[in-house]
Amino acid sequence: MEHHLFLDRVTKTFGDLKANDAVSLHVRKGTVHAVLGENGAGKTTLMNILYGLYHPDAGRILIGGREIAINNPRDALDHGIGMVHQHFMLIGPLTVTENVILGLGHGAVWLGLAEHAKRLSELSRSFGFDIEPSEPVWRLPMGMQQRVEILKLLYRNVDILILDEPTSVLTPSETGPFFEVLGRLKEAGKTILFITHKLEEVMEVADEVTVMRDGRVTAELKTDETDPRELARLMVGRDVVFDIIRSEGHFGPAKLTVEGLHARNDRGLQALDDVSFKVRAGEILGVAGVDGNGQGELAEAIAGLRPLEAGRLRVGETDVTDASISERKHRFKLAYVPEDRQRVGLDLNHSVAFNLILRSLGQPPFARFGILDFKAIRANARALTERYDVRLQDVEQEARFLSGGNQQKVILAREIEDEPAVLVVSQPCKGLDVGAIEFVQNTLLDQREKGVAILYISTELEHIMAVCDRIAVMSRGRITGILTPEDATPERLGMLMAGATMDVT
């Protein structure tokens, strides 16, 4: 069968970095074609080229055997290529209809919102979407916003839909319906380019897969002729150990004690409701739960970023409830890896070297009498980036240019180098690829061996099951139960996550 879309040896460089190195892609009409690769493998760059947001340095794009020029998104749309970006390109205050018809180009005299809304409703219903066209987009949940993005493309009669990491913004319960949508699009004869780093998703929904690594294509396969292990190897470049080895724990006395915490969220609503637990030295306590049930507030409360309404916090034997953030960090050796690594964890506009000394800014050996010692700062950065395998060109590079996994490594390096007694990590693997997840988890297990008490907050049950000694489940601001991994059956966890309580052990 003829290739509907053919990318021929596309190359794109940013500075010294070859983001795409002679990448070719063959996509058949009416298939779901996955582009699989780690973060930073060049998938998004390739798709941005196809969508006209970047201009390739070399290479051709062909549709139905004819070479086409794509200089901007408008050209791409004219050729029937549309893209749903990882971060949605929707305009919050505008309605669904306004977002969909934006850029269509007609309506200079009269927009005709009512007629558009009617046609949109019909289209939306024919694909089984249940969307109110007059609703402002910001009011819709992420899953719905994604459907608006897809509608935008369908309304323009797009044939080829590029979906960039479409499941990364969805909750587990939204993913299933999303895969059904993909099925319906395929039935309607659409071709789908599915960009992802999640192996299970490729196996579940894709017909064919192109694997990328370091800006190159490493394989083109049919999904029914491969398996996750092979894909992982092609993607990471080596065998990936799926089962992380967690040795027998050696637990010491309680290092972090939380008693009856109460706190409010940013909107002033109760976020933590009488939360109590203990984490022992050498133990990883997981906090599981559906996102937004108080986990983020818990981490912030412990780190000192969120005021408490009631409750006590102890590190070892010392009460730190009233200690400042700085005291918690330096005197009590409490380290914190925040969930939002880009906005809270790092200063993206500054160099990696600078980010690595954020904890000890203005202190020896990086400063003497208040004057920065750049030699020491750089030496520290070189040593840490090497030890933690941070991939970068230079330690003076701005943190924003690192991939998500490498950014997380920088944060971990900074926090762990201080030899913490307690480590609070919030969603450390969010948005990371398998290689980086493995690295993060092994780093945490190393710290556990060293006797650090670790609080590991995650919405990914698999990750929690893999590394945690005990699992606390949160629901609506309460700890509904604490289990050992052996007792933590999916049914039990599901019930606790839904709010059923059991005796806290």
């Binding site: 940013f14 305009i91 505008l94 934006l102 269509l104």
Partner: protein, 315 residues
């Protein structure tokens, strides 16, 4: 004194009429600001563009004795000044605040300098032809508001048309949708195929033309001559009106009318109380604008991307 005004229909009409006329230049400038800020570009330079417009109007009328020519040259001068903002803020990505302030300072200097050359010292003595008030038959005889609204000059009537036109443009046409989208989230607009920087250019230029029109009104309908720095802060009042009017042309109009009302009031108070230093009254509209901004019910939400330059290939 307030009671007198309120009770006597002629005095009331007179007072409201003055309020309306005082607000007109601010209305045009504020409409320009709404247009520009809706597309994501702060126009702090409204004051300077208004002044340039006033100068342009004076020059055009001075050489031809035709106010209509002055109107064209005035709007052109405002637009020309806006080109500077567009190039600096849209193409070069310079801070929009700094660019706007620069335009204001530049405009005061250039118009003062050029006016001395063009009018060679007689700027304060001569009188230019302009637009005189004329009554619209029928409508003007409605009690109280008739003479206020319908016994005005051509530029006031032009304002009546401009406000709904701008509202229609912003909220009922695809142009307006593009403008609002570009001002909220330029990247999203770009991916939908909107030419972000072109939209911003047009809006900034349009903004300059409207602010220039405000300047035209000062010369052609109010004082019939050009004097140095005659915009006297009206462009800044317009900035407050934009926020108070929530980036909506109708809202901005109402805000400007409020300021006009207090401006007229302070004039009355000045004349009625010669023993009090006049500065005490002059500050009234400015104080009101500050109080109005402070006392706003709810937090105003400016367009999401206002103030931020847009670049496509930035990661």
């Amino acid at each position: 004194m307030m009671m007198e005004i309120l009770l006597d229909p002629t005095m009331l009409s007179d007072f409201l009429s003055t309020s309306l006329r005082l607000s007109i230049p601010v209305v045009f400038a504020a409409l320009g600001g709404v247009l520009s800020e809706r597309s994501g570009v702060y126009n702090i330079g409204l004051e300077g563009m208004m002044l340039a417009g006033a100068f342009g109007a004076a020059v055009g009328t001075f050489f031809t004795d035709l106010p209509i020519v002055g109107l064209v040259t005035g709007m052109f001068a405002g637009t020309l000044t806006a080109v500077v903002l567009a190039v600096l803020a849209v193409s070069l990505g310079v801070s929009q605040i700094v660019a706007g302030i620069a335009i204001n300072i530049f405009s005061i200097g250039v118009t003062s300098f050029l006016s001395r050359i063009v009018f060679s010292g007689q700027a304060n003595t001569m009188t230019l032809p302009g637009y005189k008030a004329f009554a619209i038959p029928g409508l003007a005889s409605i009690p109280i508001i008739g003479p206020v609204l319908f016994n005005q000059d051509a530029l006031v009537y032009l304002m009546y048309v401009t406000v709904p036109l701008l509202f229609y443009l912003l909220f009922r046409t695809s142009w307006g949708l593009n403008i609002r989208a570009v001002g909220e989230n330029p990247r999203a607009a770009d991916t939908a195929g909107v030419r972000v920087n072109m939209v911003r250019y047009l809006c900034v230029l349009g903004s300059g033309a409207l602010a220039g029109l405000g300047g035209c009104y000062l010369v052609l309908s109010q004082v019939f001559l050009f004097s140095e720095h005659m915009s006297a802060g009206k462009g800044f009042i317009a900035l407050a009106a934009i926020i108070l009017g929530r980036w909506n042309p109708v809202g901005a109009l109402l805000a400007c009318l409020l300021f006009g009302l207090f401006d007229a009031l302070q004039l009355r108070l000045q004349f009625a109380n010669p023993e009090v230093p006049y500065q005490a009254f002059v500050i009234l509209p400015y104080v009101v604008s500050i109080l109005a901004l402070v006392g706003l019910v709810g937090k105003p939400r400016p367009p999401g991307a206002v103030g931020l330059p847009y670049r496509r290939e930035s990661k």
